[in-house]
Amino acid sequence: MSAINSRAVQCSAQVVSNKKVGAYHHIILSVDSIAASARPGNFVAIAVGGASSALVLRRAFAIYRAADKGSAGGVIELVVAPHGEGSKWLTSRQVHETVDLVGPLGTSFGIPTEPVRCILVGGGYGSAPLFGLAEILKARGCRVDMVLGASSAGKIYAPLDGKRSVSSMTITTDDGSAGMHGRVSEALPQIIEENGSELIYSCGPMAMLEAIQEIADKYNLVHQASVEESMACGIGVCMTCVVPLRGSDGVIRMSRTCIDGPVMDGADVIWNSRGSIPEGTWGA
C-alpha cells in the first residue's frame, strides 16, 4: 500500500435523492464507508453514461457534504451543474438507481487548530465544498465570512441551512441580478479589512482563484485554493490534470490536481500558465 489514494474505495452508490435547486441539482448518494472518511475539499469520481456509453472517462465532483450515519451507512451530497453530457446523465438519475463511484479522493482543506478569522470564497457551484467546511470551522470557534459569486442570480448556490454556519454572507453577480454587481475579488478587500481576516479558502474557476491569490498576497493571507483542471481518471494515473506547483524544495513541478490537489496552497501555484510551461519548471 502507499499513501496515494489511501482512503479511496470503489462502490456502487445508490441515489437517495435528486432535486433541482436553481441552476443545479442537489444529489444525495448512499456510499457506506466513504462518508466517514471524506473530508471537506475531497472529491469523488463517478462513471457516467451506463455500461455501453461512449463516455469513457470518469467525472470528478466535489463533495458538498458528507454524513456518517453509523450502522445505517453514510451518505454524501453533491451539487451538480448539468452542463456537459456526463453531468446531464448524472442529474437525470432517479432515486434507487446506482452509480459506480470512487472516493474520497484528493487533498482536503487544512483546518486550523485554533480559532482563526476565515473567508470562504466560492464561484458558481464551486461553493459546494465550502458549506461542510464552514460547519467544521464554526465548530472550532472560527469566524466564517462567506463570499459567493456567479454570472447571475440563478447560478448562486447558497442553501438556507448552509448559511447557519457563517457569520456573514456576501453575494456578487456579474450582471447585478443578485447582491453586489461585480466579481468576488472586488468584494474581498472590504470584508478582509472589516473583519481582520487571516485565512482564505476558495473554490471556483481558475481565473477567480488567481484574482484571490493577488488579494491574498496584498494582505499577506494564507490562501487554500481548490483548483480545477480537467481530469480523465481522478486517481493520478492519466497525468492530464496538472498545474505548475512550487514544492517545499522551491522546485516547480507539473503536479496532479487529483493527487496533490484539488486543495493547494495558492501561493505555491503558478497561476495563469494554462497553455504554457513556466520557465524553470522541473524537466522543462
Binding site: M1, A47, V56, V237, T240, G275, I277, W282, G283
Partner: protein
C-alpha cells in the same frame, strides 16, 4: 483447471493481462484498488534519460468512445525512476515491464544499459513512437530505418537477459513492414498499437482544444485498428509474440485481440474510466475462454487465423 499463463519471448506470466504504459502511474496509484501481483505484469510509464515536465495544458479532450491525450512523456527521468519507482514495485512483488523512450538513437542505448539487469523486470518495452530530435522530430517508428536503428541500439546493450518489445505506431502505411524491420533488428516481440494521432477543435473558441494541437487517440474508438494491425502482423510473423492493446474495456474486447494474435493484453484508457478495469477484464476473458472450451489461454492466441476446415 484453466491454464491462464502466457509466454512472451521467454518470459512466462501467470496471466496475460498487463497495464499499458502511461496508464498505471507509478503503480502506487492503483495499488489501493487491487494487489499489483494480480496483473500479468505492470508496464511502467515510458521513462526517458532526463526529468521531463511534459506538455502544457489542456492535455486532454474526450472524444466519442475515446480520448485524445498530449502528456508529452512527463516523468522523473531514469535516475529517479530506478531509485524510487522500481524498488517500490519490487517491494510489492510486482512483475515489471519497463517502458523506455528516447529522443535520439543513442538515448535508447543508454537507457537499455540502465535497465537490463533488474530483479522483477520481466521485459523491456521500447517506445519508439517518439519524436527523433536529430531528425526534424520525425517519429522513430514511422520509418523503417529509424525504427531499426533504435531497436538495434537496445539489442546491442541487452543480451538474452530480458526480452525486448518494440512498441509500434499505427500511423504508418504498412505496419507489417515496420514490424519486420524491428524483428530483424533484434526485437523479441512487439507491442501493438500505440495511440492514433488525432485532433479536436473547440467550436466555441474555434481553435484546437489541446495546447499541443494534436494528441494521441485511445479508447474503444481505435480497437478495430488494433485488431487489424495485430491480425496483419501475426499473419506475417506468426512466431513473434505480440502484446496487444487498443481500446480494450471488457473481456470480449480482450478476446478479439487474443484471437487476432495477441499473447498478452494491455489495458490503458479503460483504467481511467474504472480503476479496477484490469481485474474485470481478467475475469471476463477467463470466463469467455472456458465457455469456448479452451483449457489453455495460449491455445486461443491467433485462433482467428485457423484454416476454414478447422
Amino acid at each position: 483447471m484453466f491454464n491462464y499463463s502466457t509466454s512472451l519471448g521467454g518470459t512466462v506470466l501467470p496471466n496475460p493481462i498487463v497495464t499499458a504504459s502511461g496508464c498505471a502511474g507509478s503503480g502506487k496509484e492503483l495499488s489501493q484498488f487491487f494487489p499489483l501481483t494480480e496483473l500479468g505484469a505492470i508496464v511502467t510509464k515510458s521513462i526517458m534519460l532526463k526529468p521531463r515536465s511534459g506538455r502544457a495544458t489542456p492535455r486532454m479532450a474526450e472524444t466519442p468512445s475515446g480520448m485524445l491525450n498530449s502528456i508529452g512523456l512527463q516523468g522523473p527521468g531514469i535516475d529517479s525512476f530506478l531509485e524510487n519507482d522500481i524498488p517500490w514495485l519490487q517491494s510489492q512483488s510486482a512483475r515489471i515491464i519497463v517502458s523506455i523512450a528516447g529522443e535520439s538513437v543513442e538515448d535508447y542505448a543508454s537507457l537499455a544499459r540502465r535497465v537490463r539487469n533488474i530483479p522483477n523486470v520481466v521485459g523491456i518495452e521500447v517506445n519508439i513512437s517518439c519524436p527523433n530530435v536529430e531528425n526534424r522530430g520525425m517519429v522513430f517508428s514511422c520509418q523503417p530505418d529509424t525504427a531499426r536503428a533504435a531497436i538495434e541500439n537496445v539489442r546491442r546493450n541487452i543480451g538474452g537477459e530480458v526480452p525486448i518489445f518494440a512498441k509500434l505506431s499505427p500511423d504508418v502505411t504498412d505496419i507489417v513492414a515496420i514490424a519486420r524491420e524491428v524483428v530483424n533488428a533484434g526485437a523479441d516481440g512487439l507491442a501493438l498499437i500505440n495511440t492514433v494521432l488525432g485532433m479536436v477543435i473547440d467550436v466555441n473558441t474555434m481553435r484546437p482544444k489541446l495546447a499541443q494541437k494534436t494528441g494521441g487517440l485511445s479508447g474503444p474508438a481505435i480497437r478495430p485498428i488494433a485488431v487489424r494491425a495485430i491480425y496483419q502482423v501475426r499473419a506475417a510473423l506468426p512466431k513473434i509474440p505480440i502484446i496487444g492493446m487498443g481500446g480494450v474495456a471488457s473481456g470480449k474486447d480482450a478476446l478479439e485481440l487474443v484471437l487476432a494474435g495477441a499473447s498478452a493484453i494491455s489495458v490503458g484508457t479503460a483504467t481511467f474510466g474504472n480503476p479496477t478495469a484490469v481485474m474485470k477484464i481478467k475475469q471476463e476473458l477467463e470466463s469467455l475462454l472456458t465457455e469456448r472450451g479452451f483449457d489453455n489461454f495460449v491455445d486461443a492466441v491467433g485462433f482467428a487465423h485457423r484454416l476454414e476446415s478447422q
